[in-house]
């Protein structure tokens, strides 16, 4: 049975990729944020996970509104990325893990989740930024990636409780896979922020702190919120908490926190970083 070694929650905003491209990590604006990655990178180097199951949301690269999945899972041998229209440099493709992808799909459908299955899909900054920042120098060749996307753009979106249950089923699937490989779960996006409207720039770091606490002690409590609640409390893009919830739900045991950062503002967001491992 495959072993889930922990969960990393991380922001995925394009500005992080640009800051790395431009060598800004040690500048006053960025230094406290990037410092948070150092223990995570060390942990990854020490643990050497074989596979990263990565929850993200597509922001209009592969999944336009014409055919936009609510939940989708990559089942491809590799994942390219591309120009998204604002000048982040594409990075070398991510390597896939088709056997586990299909195992997860089979398990999900047997357990009443029906995701869109993607055999050829480009991933956007939601996936490339976390991989770039966790494996500096694009040194992610040794880890296979399974991208799983959750619609965070157009309402109706999956309820937070549903994303949590979806993550729980994926965790069960990974644990039932006959393999001794080590799997790390990445929950990306967030935390509180609002990009659009006259309310743009709204953050709620108190709520973010509370969410990060709850992810340790009582993640199911976060399922009480609707997406409208999250919009009100955490901003219109605060709904990206869905990916952190799904990631946390993959681990079905109590966890302990190895590292946490909450840094704001990072671009227009409150940026969270959290490493949780089975207690």
């Amino acid at each position: 049975m495959a072993n889930i070694i922990g969960m990393i929650g991380t922001s995925h905003i394009p500005a992080i990729g640009r800051a790395m491209d431009q060598g800004l990590e040690e500048t006053p604006y960025w230094v406290d944020f990037f410092d948070g990655y150092k223990p995570m990178r060390s942990w990854l180097q020490q643990e050497q996970p074989d596979i990263a199951v990565l929850f993200y949301n597509d922001h209009g690269l592969s999944m336009f509104l014409d055919k936009k999945p609510t939940f989708a899972i990559g089942c491809a041998p590799s994942y390219e990325n591309a120009d998204e229209g604002w000048g982040i440099q594409p990075i070398p493709p991510l390597t896939g893990e088709t056997e586990l992808s299909w195992h997860i799909v089979n398990h999900l459908i047997e357990n009443d989740f029906d995701p869109t299955v993607c055999q050829d899909i480009k991933v956007d900054h939601g996936a490339t930024v976390p991989m770039s920042v966790l494996y500096p120098g694009k040194a992610y060749k040794g880890v296979k990636v399974i991208p799983i996307s959750i619609n965070c753009e157009r309402h109706p979106m999956p309820k937070p409780a549903r994303s949590y249950a979806f993550g729980k089923a994926i965790g069960d699937a990974i644990r039932s896979w006959n393999s001794d490989q080590k799997v790390v779960i990445l929950g990306t996006g967030g935390l509180s922020h609002q990009l659009d409207g006259e309310r743009a720039g709204y953050l709620n770091t108190d709520f973010d702190r509370d969410c990060m606490d709850k992810l340790i002690t009582d993640p199911a409590a976060l399922c009480q919120y609707t997406n409208d609640d999250l919009t009100r409390i955490g901003g219109a893009q605060g709904v990206e908490l869905a990916m952190w919830l799904a990631a946390r739900a993959c681990i079905n045991v109590p966890v302990k926190e190895i590292e946490r950062r909450l840094v704001a503002p990072i671009s227009n967001t409150s940026a969270g970083l959290q490493l949780l491992v089975p207690a």
Binding site: H59, G60, W86, H155, G197, E198, D228, N268
Partner: protein, 118 residues
Amino acid sequence: MSNSMPEGTYKFDGEMATLGFNLNRMCFTFNESASRQAFKDDEAAYCDKFGLNEVQKKAILERDIIALLRNGGSIYYLAKFAGVLGLSVQDLGGIMTGQTTAEFQAYLDSQQVGKPNG
């Protein structure tokens, strides 16, 4: 459950997505540099090619981001429009809130946490 949104928030739901489909489809093409160039070469013609209504077209030509949101624009694709214009998300925030970019940045900075070295 209340569906009311905070002031200054435009919920992108089925109704808005229907209204904004052509607008968003146009901005989706800005993933490609050739499309960005075609837009820059003749903005009005590019809007017409995608069937934007007159309100949406006017809002594009006038960089009226709030009007675009009110007429079905999704921020994911409007961000790509901003990219064509060379605007950052802070510039965009300033435009939408009626502030300069520096004022908008100051608002973000007023919510600062976790930056002892910043």
